[in-house]
Amino acid sequence: MKRIYLDHAATSPVAAEVVEAMRPFYEGVFGNPSSIHHFGREARRGLDEARDTIAGAVNAGFDEIIFTSGGTESDNLAVIGYSMANREKGRHVITTQVEHHGILHAFEHLETLGFEVTYLQVDESGRVSEDQVRDALREDTILISIMYGNNEVGTVQPVEEIGAILTDHQAVFHTDAVQAFGLAEIDVKKLNVDMLSVSAHKINGPKGTGFLYLKSGLTVSPGLYGGEQERKRRAGTENVAGAAGLKKAVELAIEKREERLALYDSFRTAMIQVFDEEGLDFQVNGSSMYYLPHILNVSFPGANVELMLTNLDISGIAASSGSACTAGSIEPSHVLSAMFPEQPERSRSAIRFSFGDGLTEEDIRTAAEKTAKIVTRLTD
């Protein structure tokens, strides 16, 4: 049975070029970038090249890139690190209800430390507006964190517009671009963001690495204490191979962006078309205007999500509910609950298909047909 992987928003296969880019750092170049000898310099060169390329890719400066272990660490460093380092400027922070848990749980932690958090409500498409941000802003607001594109439903937030209204306010602006990077054009200056998180494994890079863009002049309290790596903002010997892999993944993501945007949009259309042809009762969750095309979140009323996903896996289709699991069983999604507070059924029957490298339109049609067969059987 050919298996079809439609869970690229969870993680993505590592590109062959990325493996090649990392190989030298597993086969020969092993030095510690902080060492003062030849071996250290070799490693340092790899690390600096990665930092340089990545900085250029998002229109940031060389010293504005902090390597981390991935999206969650970048998010935590931005939210907790910035708030703690700047708490004398104010104790109010703003985010949305639909952030990734790497953000939401960081804000919940801030609440226990005496911060006041405003969680902006989203509309049915999962979006907030710049007006909501403007209304929530206070004199003592120090941080706003609003994701670029949602990991469950793909909805894109008005990041640039929000960034624009903050230019004359003390509050700094962070965006979690983990899902958006590679599909949205990321230019930190154009977006008016002060901090931005990216993870490697969502863009065909290795797991355990990512970066935070931190605008120069801003300070964050470190999450790890130790050596002076990353200018004391992230202690611990650098993951040099990971950084090299991340560099290549970033390059590939930018190179293939236009092509992928069109391809994934055609996948979405194809999948929805098959569902229509098969006469399924379904609802697409998310925004039809502002979306990341690699995520298609669909509710199939009357079908149980656990049963659908298990059936799909048995038929060789890997998809997800997009939300957290406890003891392996699926909890209602906080994103869909925020979008449809009055429709628990809609979130209980929602599946996330997410597209990525290596898929063909035939794969998508096969997967959609198998899905339709299962949904029809389960809702009969």
Binding site: E306, L307, T310, N311, D313, I314, C325, T326, A327, G328, S329, I330, R377, L378
Partner: protein, 364 residues
């Protein structure tokens, strides 16, 4: 499909895996026999504590380890709502009515072999297997359920409410094996759960204090403890905390034989107590049973067989008289001690479990 003619590799068996050694070995044996095996963990109860720790998480991790060792897929399914509605609500209602419920019987009937069985069938399973100690035998007349060969572990008592339809789709791979051998198999196969301690008690209470647990859900109404002659001997904490025949926790001292719970007067909220293990109030000659389920439908309305009134009790010879409305009078050859309304009465013919019902009242 009462008789399965498919080859093992074409037969999909879904194993209900708890993360314990029994269901691990059940999955292992089926895999050895060449079946298309899938492991599924059922989450029926949310026991997350204040620190966010939940035993279901560690149990599911054990399921994952074993399934990866066996190279079989694993999934989880959540039946918390069904469990609450069908098992826990019944459990509380029974206590409120002054009876002693058996949630394991109800869980098998409504969750494991109904909600979960339906789930398995809709995943294309031919059979649902569990680590219960019981046997099934299929022939053209249907399915018989037999005691596990390890009489000490036999679990047919808890499975008495299963129907022919349910049993048609059930496999009990451990029925032919004795428990010590199950541990040995797990060790020989190097299964991650080989040395894991068996779980005890009611699943949703676990190791916690029963009284404390129940008090979270039901208001306790303290009252008097009296002898059958009406002499007040002390106070009780709430009738639901006591079981017929219980000796511990009464707090009545004094001379003579120890004191036992011999009855409950619900109307007056009085716990009846008496002296001596063999207090005559504790003995009865028969019982009435309701909600009868027959795996083997009796051919006569009056017949003799053996019965158990509690788990792990020796079989007792009885005469059963059916009233034709799903109820029965069960008369004992020998008087029985501490027959407890709400518990199951289960009938046997040799090793065959005929079915069972719920004890309604005792007959003196």
């Amino acid at each position: 499909m009462s008789m399965n003619k498919k080859a093992p590799e074409d037969t999909r068996v879904i194993v209900g895996m708890s993360g314990g050694v029994d269901s691990s070995v059940a999955a292992y044996l089926l895999k050895q026999q060449g079946y298309d095996v899938i492991g599924i963990f059922m989450k029926n109860w949310d026991d997350t504590d204040e620190s966010g720790v939940c035993t279901a998480t560690t149990d599911y991790e054990d399921v994952i380890r074993v399934c990866n060792q066996l190279e079989i897929p694993y999934y989880a399914v959540n039946f918390e709502k069904q469990y609450w509605d069908k098992v826990f609500t019944y459990f509380l209602e029974e206590y409120k009515a002054g009876r002693t419920p058996n949630p394991d019987v109800m869980c098998n009937k409504e969750i494991k072999f109904r909600a979960f069985l339906d789930h398995a069938l809709s995943l294309g399973a031919d059979y649902l297997a569990t680590g219960h100690y019981a046997r099934v035998e299929r022939d053209e007349d249907g399915v018989k359920m037999l005691r596990g060969v390890d009489y000490n572990k036999d679990q047919t008592y808890f499975l008495n409410a299963l129907t022919q339809e349910q049993l048609q789709h059930v496999m009990f791979p451990l029925g032919e094996i004795e428990k010590p051998r199950v541990r040995e198999i797990a060790l020989e196969a190097g299964l991650a759960t080989a040395k894991k301690k068996d779980s005890t008690g009611i699943c949703f209470i676990g190791e916690r204090n029963f009284k404390e647990f129940l008090s979270e859900f039901l208001p306790a109404q303290p009252g008097n403890m009296e002898t059958t002659d009406g002499e007040v001997k002390g106070r009780h904490d709430g009738l639901m905390y006591y079981t017929l025949g219980q000796r511990q926790g009464l707090g009545i001292g004094g001379a003579g034989e120890p004191w036992f719970v011999v009855g409950k007067d619900l109307d007056r909220n009085v716990l009846l107590v008496g002296q001596g293990y063999d207090h005559p109030e504790l003995y009865s000659n028969g019982l009435t049973a309701v909600g009868l389920n027959w795996i083997d439908v009796p051919k006569e309305n009056r017949f003799t067989c053996t019965a158990k009134f509690r788990y792990r009790q020796e079989d007792q010879p009885v005469t059963v008289e059916l009233d034709g409305n799903g109820e029965a009078r069960v008369m004992f050859d020998e008087p029985q001690r501490a027959i407890t309304p709400g518990q199951a009465v289960v009938f046997y013919d040799g090793d065959v479990c005929l079915g069972g019902g719920t004890i309604e009242e005792v007959i003196k």
